[in-house]
């Protein structure tokens, strides 16, 4: 499993095939989203942001769920392999990226439809917290120490996030429900979707899911290579450390 040689890559035949599929899907999504699908009656061309925005947040949720599952798998007995930690970390990184994409596209869309970049809507607010929480998680992953230290610390933190996020969401929901009579509706809800629009949205979800899988596969492989390099550096360091004794 450990890649060898100076030209170790993160790709395998399977990931290359998957990458090709992602490329084709992306081209289709661009064509379908920007040209083939119709404008919305109310929102006009603005609605096309949806084909990026909704799949982004979908990928982000999926990524954080994967991080939680892998963290749980790492901590449970019998499956204590650092491989779980690598997938958890890779998935969280990509999740953070896609939350950021969905926050940016969401606020652009909000600006066009509501005339404002941000509203204190429950879903928006807890999405922002989701973002900050996993930025913190990534900061903790970079604290250093041995692989096992990193794995254990970040797995515990990821599981704490699973506790934290519903609490934050629930309290924000409660907060908004009391203070905002006419809540700004989610823009998606206003869209009357015809068949092609629905197809484009589904295509977006499929494309982004495939893209997510492709990114996670590569990213966890990069982390594996980094860990391997560190490990090999350790072998050399051990050898030179032993030489210190003779040199003196």
């Amino acid at each position: 499993m450990t890649p060898t040689g100076a030209h170790a890559t993160t790709g395998t035949p399977a990931t290359r095939r998957l990458g090709l599929v992602v490329c084709v899907l992306l081209v289709l999504l661009v064509l379908s989203g920007l040209w083939w699908s119709a404008e919305d009656v109310v929102q006009g061309s603005t609605v096309r942001i949806m084909y990026v925005h909704v799949p982004s947040i979908w990928v982000a949720y999926m990524a954080f769920a994967l991080t939680a599952v892998c963290s749980g798998a790492y901590l449970s007995r019998g499956t204590r392999s650092v491989a779980w930690d690598r997938v958890a970390g890779a998935s969280a990184e990509i999740g953070v990226l896609f939350v950021a994409v969905s926050l940016v596209t969401g606020s652009l869309w909000g600006r066009l439809t509501w005339g404002t970049y941000w509203v204190w809507d429950a879903r928006l607010t807890s999405t922002a917290f989701l973002f900050i929480t996993y930025v913190g998680y990534l900061a903790v992953r970079r604290l250093g120490g041995t692989l096992r230290q990193r794995a254990r610390r970040s797995a515990v933190l990821a599981l704490l996030a699973v506790l934290e996020i519903p609490l934050v969401h629930f309290s924000v929901e409660l907060w908004r429900s009391l203070h905002q009579e006419a809540s700004v509706a989610n823009p998606n809800a206003k869209v009357e979707m015809d068949g092609l629009m629905l197809f484009t949205l589904m295509l977006g979800l499929a494309t982004f899911t495939a893209l997510f899988v492709w990114l996670v596969l590569h990213r966890q492989r990069v982390i594996l290579l980094e860990d391997t390099v560190a490990d090999r550096g350790l072998d050399e360091a051990i050898a030179s450390r032993r030489d210190e004794a003779g040199a003196r």
């Binding site: 096992r148 350790l234 051990i238 050898a239 450390r241 032993r242 210190e244």
Partner: protein
């Protein structure tokens, strides 16, 4: 009779640097083992691995018959480490510090006052805050906590450093008492003539490895 310490090919990493690069070490019950070697050789790391503080990256072994990676928690309660730090709360008085330690291990009041008396910490010093103590007095405080803890394996990192002759004699006599009571001692020092007098065996730590330095005396 199992050995108290058994390390086999132990590699331990500190911030990416291999502090220990494959240590093999065996210490029998009742021994007083002296670790000697230059600064940065890995003496402190050997002691921290034995205390279950520094995780073992490669290799393995056992302390007091317990596995060094799987049973670290059980090892810890039976081992005492006196490192470069003394583990004191600087805003607490000497008596408060030692009583706190005693209460975490369930030692009685009598044991606490015996230990404080043994280390000359009763009387005026007892109510002095730890941050006002001299280096030697702090060391005595830490030793008093070790006595209270009744460890089976005593690990001491440069216990004589920075102390005057009287302070060093004091430490030696505490160690003799501990051995007499059945404890095993691993002590690091580069003051050989002093620590050597106490040791039953000396090994040299260098380049993150252990070379056997002369066998039993």
């Amino acid at each position: 009779m199992t050995n108290v310490v058994e390390l086999r090919g132990v590699v331990a990493v500190l911030g990416g640097f291999p502090a220990l690069a494959g240590v093999d070490l065996t210490v029998g019950r009742g021994e007083v083992l002296l670790l000697q070697g230059p600064n940065g050789a890995g003496k402190t790391s050997v002691l921290r691995v034995c205390a279950g503080l520094l995780p073992v990256e490669r290799g393995g072994g056992s302390i007091l018959g317990m596995d060094i990676t799987a049973q670290r928690d059980s090892i810890r309660s039976r081992v005492g480490l006196l490192g470069h730090t003394n583990g004191l709360y600087l805003d607490l008085t000497v008596a408060q510090n030692i009583r706190f330690w005693a209460s975490t291990v369930g030692a009685s009041r009598d044991e606490v006052s015996a230990a404080m008396q043994r280390m000359g910490l009763d009387g005026r010093l007892a109510s002095v805050k730890a941050d006002r103590l001299s280096a030697g007095q702090r060391r005595r405080c830490a030793l008093a906590s070790m006595i209270v803890r009744r460890a089976e394996l005593w690990l001491l990192d440069e216990p004589h450093a920075g102390l005057d002759a009287a302070g060093r004699d004091e430490i030696d006599s505490v160690l003799r008492d501990a051995v007499a009571a059945g404890a095993t001692v691993v002590v690091s020092s580069h003051e050989l003539e002093r620590a050597g007098a106490l040791a039953t065996r000396v090994v040299t730590v260098d380049g993150g490895t252990v070379r056997d330095g002369g066998g039993a005396r």
